[in-house]
Amino acid sequence: MPENINVLVPITYVYKNRVGQFIEKFIKGLSQKKILGVKCPKCKKVYVPPRAVCGKCFSRLDKLVEVGQEGILENFTVGHVTIDNGELKDAPPYILGVIKLKKADSAITAIVKGVEPNEAKPGLAVRAVWKEPPEDNFSSLDYFEIIRPSAKKRRR
């Protein structure tokens, strides 16, 4: 079998993607330590992050609402890797949580700290922790911390 003839084609690109007013306001809100959602006038559901259309109702969304900074850890995974530019890289274990914030109907994903990865479990209460000073981008919301000890610890 003859050896493959390959050409290496480098592509460097910068896309200027328009993010839309809601994500822009969401990011701005985070820089002011606020978590914004949007409320559907028809089904009354509050979505975080905010978006322009409720898929279910096909209604235009325009009412931004602030949601709670506390919530419940609904689900989580412990990451041992990250994907960096399409390559798997090892990482010290971290908790990636799915969090239902107060006054929101959809859940968001975020890093969770304040509990050992093997002690995390669904149902724990969490609270937003902000970067000081906050930045003008989404990373102002640094992570969520566990605010109540687990039931097992409380019993002791």
Binding site: N4, V19, I23, T77, H80, G86, E87, V98, T109
Partner: protein, 382 residues
């Protein structure tokens, strides 16, 4: 249905980490293999549908270099950007329109050697928020989905590993998938490299190069072309909302929706009784219980019972991925079409070492997006 459509020919390459030949040559080999098997020429092909991904191929409208290689010169051609099973859906509709009597569907993937498939997947994420944060991706999404199912239905990591081992055992018998040294055991799976808990390296298959093709034909043409037509009995296609935090990721409602439509069209009232085999697009072993339940093949939450009972094994009553499925090989953008090719070979009794018994009706499936946002379901029968 207005018009009956059959799969009359099929072919696939070996799947390997790096193909010794170019994608253009693969396209030529696939098309000529199908034409030769059916003893027809390119004049007998009315329309062509590809599936490929421009970002993966590093070219705009990347099938443009393939059209001459499959005999599409001065013909009508289009492509599906998602999976080859979507391309079958388009080809089927083209024949149903009455404009065409035959359609060639070709799907080629160079995801093993050409570019970084994880980067291509990551670029399906919203560019302003989720992509730069680097938290949600296809693997972490599948891990959250697996964890949610396992918590709700009390599935252990051993049970999950059994799903991986079942697929790896089937894949070992499949001559098209890359060879492994022996079949990993449950212990090997549990000791493999952790990705995002509970998912590990051996819960997923390697990205590979390779491709497959099928020829569809209207009823009258099908009867002229083959004495073993495999009929397309139904199709369903559904798309859920983008953010996983909006969705019920263990119900996978868009899969339930797509399945409902496909079964209705095919007149299937009780899938667990009427379906004789399933070939489904599982990027991770954890997706098998979740997807087969969404497809109505097993009761909701029965994943532990199902894997323990052996019912979904190749020799079981309702085999799931007797080919090994994508846990054996993932040719990105062709993975779902491979499911159809495998099911067709099963229904024709030509699956050789992976052949199941009494295969009459098959369900085939392809997915796209984090936690299977987008699903296509097809029903095939003989």
């Amino acid at each position: 249905m207005e018009r009956k459509v059959a799969v009359v020919g099929y072919t696939q390459t070996n799947y390997e980490k790096e193909s010794p030949i170019s994608r253009e040559r693969i396209a030529f080999d696939l098309a000529t293999a199908i034409l030769q098997k059916l003893k027809i020429s390119r004049d007998d092909v009315d329309t062509i549908v590809f599936s490929s991904n421009d970002f993966m191929d590093g070219r705009t409208i990347s099938e443009v270099y393939l059209v001459q290689r499959v005999g599409a010169h001065m013909k009508d051609e289009t492509k599906a950007e998602a999976d080859g099973l979507n391309a079958v859906l388009y080809a089927w509709m083209r024949i149903m329109s009455g404009q065409y009597n035959t359609a060639l569907v070709v799907s080629i993937s160079m995801s093993g050697s050409q570019f970084r498939p994880l980067l291509v997947q990551n670029h399906t994420l919203d560019p302003a928020y989720e992509r730069p944060r680097g938290l949600v991706n296809f693997i972490s999404g599948a891990a959250l989905q697996a964890r949610a199912y396992m918590t709700k239905y009390h599935m252990s990591e051993e049970n999950l590993a059994q799903y991986a081992v079942k697929s790896l055992e089937n894949a070992r018998k499949n001559p098209f998938t890359p060879k492994r040294d022996g079949v990993p055991t449950v212990k090997d799976v549990l000791n493999s490299k952790p990705l995002y808990d509970p998912l590990r390296e051996l819960h997923t298959g390697p990205f590979v190069d390779g491709g497959c093709a099928v020829l569809l034909a209207s009823e009258e043409r099908a009867k002229e072309l083959t004495d073993k037509p495999v009929w397309i009995k139904g199709f369903g296609h559904s798309l859920d909302t983008y953010y996983i935090g909006d969705r019920n990721i263990i119900r996978v409602n868009s899969l339930r929706d797509a399945a409902k439509r496909a079964y209705k069209m095919a007149g299937i009232k009780n899938p667990s009784r009427d379906i004789s085999l399933a070939e489904i697009h599982t990027n991770f072993a954890s997706e098998e219980p979740i997807f087969t339940e969404a497809l109505g093949l097993f009761p909701d939450g029965s994943g532990v019972k199902t894997i323990k009972s052996g019912i979904s094994r190749r020799e079981g009553k309702l085999p799931v991925n007797p080919s090994g499925g994508p846990i054996g090989a993932q040719p990105m953008n062709a993975t779902g079409l491979v499911r159809l090719v495998e099911a067709v070979s099963q229904l024709r009794g030509e699956a050789g070492p992976t052949q199941v018994k009494r295969a009459r009706t098959a369900v085939v499936h392809a997915q796209e997006g984090v936690c299977a946002q987008h699903n296509v379901v097809g029903i095939l029968g003989v």
